[in-house]
Amino acid sequence: MVDTTPATAVQHADPAATPRLHDVELTINGQTHHLSIEPNVVLLDALRERLGLTGAKKGCDHGQCGACTVLVDGRSMNSCLMLASMADGCDITTVEGLAKPDGTLHPVQQAFLEHDAYQCGYCTAGQMMSATAILNDPSIERTDASIKDAMSGNICRCGAYKNIHDAIKTADARLNGGE
């Protein structure tokens, strides 16, 4: 039998046993949620399936594509690699929470819009979340090379990298007065 390891959960020794539910508190886009979840549920599935926040995408489910990137306490994380219970008590931002409540786009969103920094759009949320984390991180140099390095975990099969890069530079200029 070809191995078809379940992608959404770690395999149990005894799959028939119902695992104990965990209570977790997640602050997502400024709103606090209390969830009772199986301990093996990954954050991406909790966001998408439990909370209906489908902006973060499942591109590979293996921490290799970046489509599922969200901010956890300000740091970019592949939400497919993190258990929801590990994020207990954390402050999470998803693409849905980037814009202001009145709908004003975040400078990164605005720059992506202006530069057509997407084609099919499937990687876009992840790209923007990584970009946001980078632009908030003073330890990352604002050179082309270090932005490229820092963004290297986000793949875009449509190859929209040039426009994504231009968008990040524009957003940097607006947020940080970068060149």
Binding site: M1, V2, D3, T4, T5, P6, A7, T8, A9, P15, A16, R48, E49, G52, L53, T54, G55, A56, K57, G59, C60, D61, H62, Q64, C65, T94, V95, E96, L98, A99, L105, Q109, Q110, F112, L113, D116, Y118, Q119, C120, G121, Y122, C123, T124, M128, K148, D149, M151, S152, N154, I155, C156, R157, C158, G159, A160, Y161, K162, N163, I164, H165
Partner: protein, 803 residues
């Protein structure tokens, strides 16, 4: 309606910016609101589907033990081939692709049975509990061997031109004669080689997915990530044995397709529909990435051989090219793919006497399928390899050899008999050569290579000439449905699908242009087979060409009705009326669009229309291998500069300059994005994307950890992309634009040629090192080692090299 909606105030004019309109889903994409199939809210009673895959490349299927699967928690249904009420077949053109395997397993990864469960984890866990009883059989795993043994999915095909049609010299000198075989003139050079070309995984970031819903009237609605909803509809109907009108397939958008969702999406739609019909519920079927890579077809790997003779100037006299496409276990779209490879064996060059042969090898692997370029990229590679080889043999710059062999108005007929009507490629290359500073950089690179023993640089300019039209003639048709509502808002629907290429944006622009109304008045809805029936796949780069024309046709019908109304109602001479910036105007008279529409409604003018388009002039005769299969050609050229490390084989793309022909662009920003993205994807295929199978025929590269597609940092630091200006399409295409989806992919051949140039510098440009594709660091290192251990050029057969 009894009372009309108040006519809204006209929108501000967007006449100046409409040309570069952003993507129709731009705001949805940046806010995360754009919905893909997997983002749809779950239904209350929803089933999730998973499939069990064949572990064998080739085996007799003796039986399945599925009791443990049935008893697994959460399982609703288990489905095997015996449960299919209609045909167990989802082949796109020819039979050979069963929905579920029956009696025989034909590749490792072939779906054998399906499980429906209350949640995805339960479905996938249950799959693991199956026992597949099978007796392994000998497997065909090598395309060249397959051809030697006569294992093919379809017959061989030839293009042959026995008499050179050098009309230029024939006119100047009508005593010109052909040399009889064996009497080659004194100055004749022969070059030959073998080139192995790898396949490519689509790796659309949104994996294959479909959701099927059983409707209350025995109907089925399928939400699919497919480039070809009409085919999903048809195959579902056949599998379920129901009429087509009871099945609706719908596509809002795809997270990438690239050809991988042209035929391959149908199996998912059919599987989900079968499960939904059996259980009267909604079923979602998403393939995990690993299963997706195992189960679905990829770009065809090709094994190629070329042999050319040239004169002293490097101009082709005779060209023989053999192309073996590795089709996998079934025909799928391989007829068209190998045909297109053959049609592009000339790339942009006049081949002289030509013989091009296309073989379709059967191997026990996933059935290879459409992928951006559809065989064209593989077909172009042998002649590009030959161009480099000729240059080394004659001590010329490869660019000069390429330029000397381009089609001209004197030599304008392809090896399959189509005449070129637009001679753009020569001037385009001249312009790019200047813009990219090719000659100076060539000198600088040669000097750099003399001074640097370890790091070597390479430079190459390669052209692209790509034929536009489906090679299957009947597919060159499209339909559209246009509705205008009483507030003046317009809804367009057409048969094309949106996968990121900006098709919907272009179609909205076309409709707005016919009425000259702001783009904000035009909206597009999901592609649905119950709105526009019998559509063609969104493929062959033809999306905007075909559907744009159909949308325009519908808009012109309504435009004519509105003009008739205004002429009659407001007594304006009909030919003085024009639509201009949100108004209908005539001499000293005008009426806002919105008011005109309300008047038309009250006068009972029908405000909806269908549109249709079929491409004129194309034909091809398969028995003679001659015809006019393409409506027109799109052209382009690229200059790539690379750097290799001769100790590790690692390489880097330093700079890329592209000049590309899109006729009169419908949307320059979208077109530029397609060119950049196509180039990057092509460069990935040629350098980093390597598919590996084990010796039993099981794919080993089943995820991004082992299969490397271009990353952010693989973008060249200097990447200049320009559209060729001032050359509208010579054919009456939609506003004289040209297709742009596929042609730029092949611009990346310049990267591979530049790598060969860097390798050639190791022998001071006296040899032309073979470099199979993908040119991974490993292959480059092996090429370096081969050069170091022996640098004598390969001898030519028959001792034809008398130069």
């Amino acid at each position: 309606m009894r009372k009309l909606i108040p006519a809204p105030a006209p929108l501000p004019s967007d006449a100046a910016t409409r040309h570069s309109a952003p993507h129709d889903s731009a705001v949805a994409h940046v806010t995360g609101r754009a919905i893909y199939v997997d983002d749809l809210p779950a239904h209350a009673r929803m089933g999730y589907l998973a499939v069990g895959l064949s572990p064998h490349a080739h085996a007799r299927l003796d039986g399945l033990t599925l009791d443990a699967v049935r008893q697994s928690p959460g399982v609703i249904d288990v489905i095997t081939a015996a449960d299919i009420p209609g045909r167990n077949e989802v082949g796109a053109v020819y039979p050979g692709d069963p929905l579920l395997a029956e009696r025989e397993l034909r590749y490792a990864g072939q779906p054998v049975f399906a499980v429906v469960a209350t949640d995805l984890v339960s479905a996938r866990r249950a799959v693991d509990k199956a026992v597949i009883h099978a007796t392994p059989l000998p497997a065909s795993l090598d395309a060249v061997e397959a051809i030697a043994q006569g294992l093919t999915v379809l017959p061989v095909h030839h293009h042959e031109r026995a008499t050179p049609l050098d009309r230029g010299s024939a006119m100047k000198n009508n005593t010109q004669t052909r040399e009889a075989p064996g009497e080659a003139p004194a100055a004749s050079h022969c070059v030959s080689g073998t080139l192995s070309i790898g396949g490519q995984e689509h790796f659309y970031l949104e994996g294959q997915i479909a959701q099927a819903e059983a409707l209350d009237d025995d109907g089925i609605r399928i939400l699919t990530s497919s480039q070809h909803p009409s085919e999903v509809q048809k195959l579902v109907a056949e599998v379920l044995d129901r009429p087509l009108h009871s099945i609706v397939a719908e596509v809002r958008r795809m997270g990438g397709g690239f050809g991988g969702k042209e035929s391959q999406a149908a199996a998912l739609g059919a599987m989900a529909a079968l499960a939904a019909a059996r259980n009267h519920c909604t079923v979602r079927f998403r393939l995990p990435r690993r299963d997706d890579m195992l189960m679905t077809g990829k770009r065809h790997p090709f094994e190629t051989h070329y042999e050319v003779t040239t004169d002293d100037r490097g101009i082709l006299r005779d060209t023989t090219i053999s192309l073996i496409g590795n089709c996998g276990h079934s025909p799928d779209l391989s007829e068209g793919v190998v045909d297109r490879a053959m049609f592009h064996a000339d790339n942009a060059y006049y081949l002289g006497n030509a013989r091009v042969t296309g073989h379709r090898a059967m191997t026990h692997t996933a059935s290879n399928t459409a992928f951006r370029g559809f065989g064209g990229p593989q077909g172009m590679m042998p002649i590009e390899a030959a161009m480099d080889d000729i240059a080394r043999r004659l001590g010329l710059d490869p660019l000069d050899v390429r330029k000397r062999n381009l089609y001209t108005d004197q030599k304008d007929e392809t090896h399959y008999g189509q005449r070129l009507d637009q001679h753009l490629i020569g001037p385009l290359i001249d312009q790019l050569e200047k813009q990219s500073d090719y000659r100076h950089r060539r000198q600088a690179i040669t000097a750099f290579n003399q001074e640097n023993p370890i790091i070597k640089r390479g430079l190459a300019l390669t052209p692209v000439k790509f034929g536009i039209s489906f090679t299957a003639q009947h597919l060159n048709q499209a339909g559209a449905l246009l509705a205008i509502y009483t507030d003046g808002s317009v809804l367009i629907n057409h048969g094309g699908t949106e996968m990121g290429q900006g098709l919907h944006t272009k179609v909205c622009q076309i409709v707005a242009r016919v009425f000259d109304i702001p783009l904000g008045r035009v909206r597009i809805s999901a592609t649905r087979t119950d709105k526009v029936p019998n559509t063609s796949p969104t493929a062959a780069s033809s999306g905007a060409d075909l559907n744009g024309m159909a949308a325009r046709d519908a808009a012109l019908t309504l435009r004519a009705r509105l003009l008739d109304l205004a002429a009659e109602q407001y007594r304006q001479p009909r030919d003085s009326l024009t639509f201009s910036d949100g108004q209908l105007i005539a001499d000293g008279w005008s009426m806002p669009w919105e008011a005109l529409i309300q008047a038309a409604y009250l006068k009972r003018v029908p405000l909806s229309a269908t549109g249709f388009y079929s491409t004129p002039t194309i034909h091809y005769d398969k028995t003679t291998g001659k015809g006019h299969p393409f409506f027109y050609y799109a052209y382009g050229a690229a200059v790539s500069e690379v750097e290799i490390d001769t100790l590790t084989g690692e390489h880097r793309l330093r700079r890329v300059d592209i000049l590309h022909d899109v006729g009169d662009s419908l949307n320059p920003a979208i077109d530029r994005g397609q060119i950049e993205g196509g180039f990057i994807q092509g460069a990935g295929w040629l350098t980093t994307e390597e598919l590996k199978w084990d010796d039993k025929g099981t794919l080993l590269t089943t995820g991004p950890a082992t299969y490397k597609i271009p990353a952010y940092s693989d973008t060249p630091p200097v990447f200049n992309v320009a559209l060729l200006e001032g050359h509208p399409c010579s054919q009456a295409t939609i506003y004289r634009s040209k297709a742009v989806g596929e042609p730029p992919f092949m611009l990346a051949l310049s990267v591979w040629s530049a790598l060969r140039d860097a390798l050639s510098s190791l022998t001071n440009y006296t040899t032309s090192p073979a470099l199979d594709v993908p040119a991974t660091p490993e292959r480059i290192l092996l090429a370096v080692e081969a050069i170091k251990s022996a640098s004598t050029p390969a001898a030519c057969p028959e001792g034809a090299d008398h130069g």
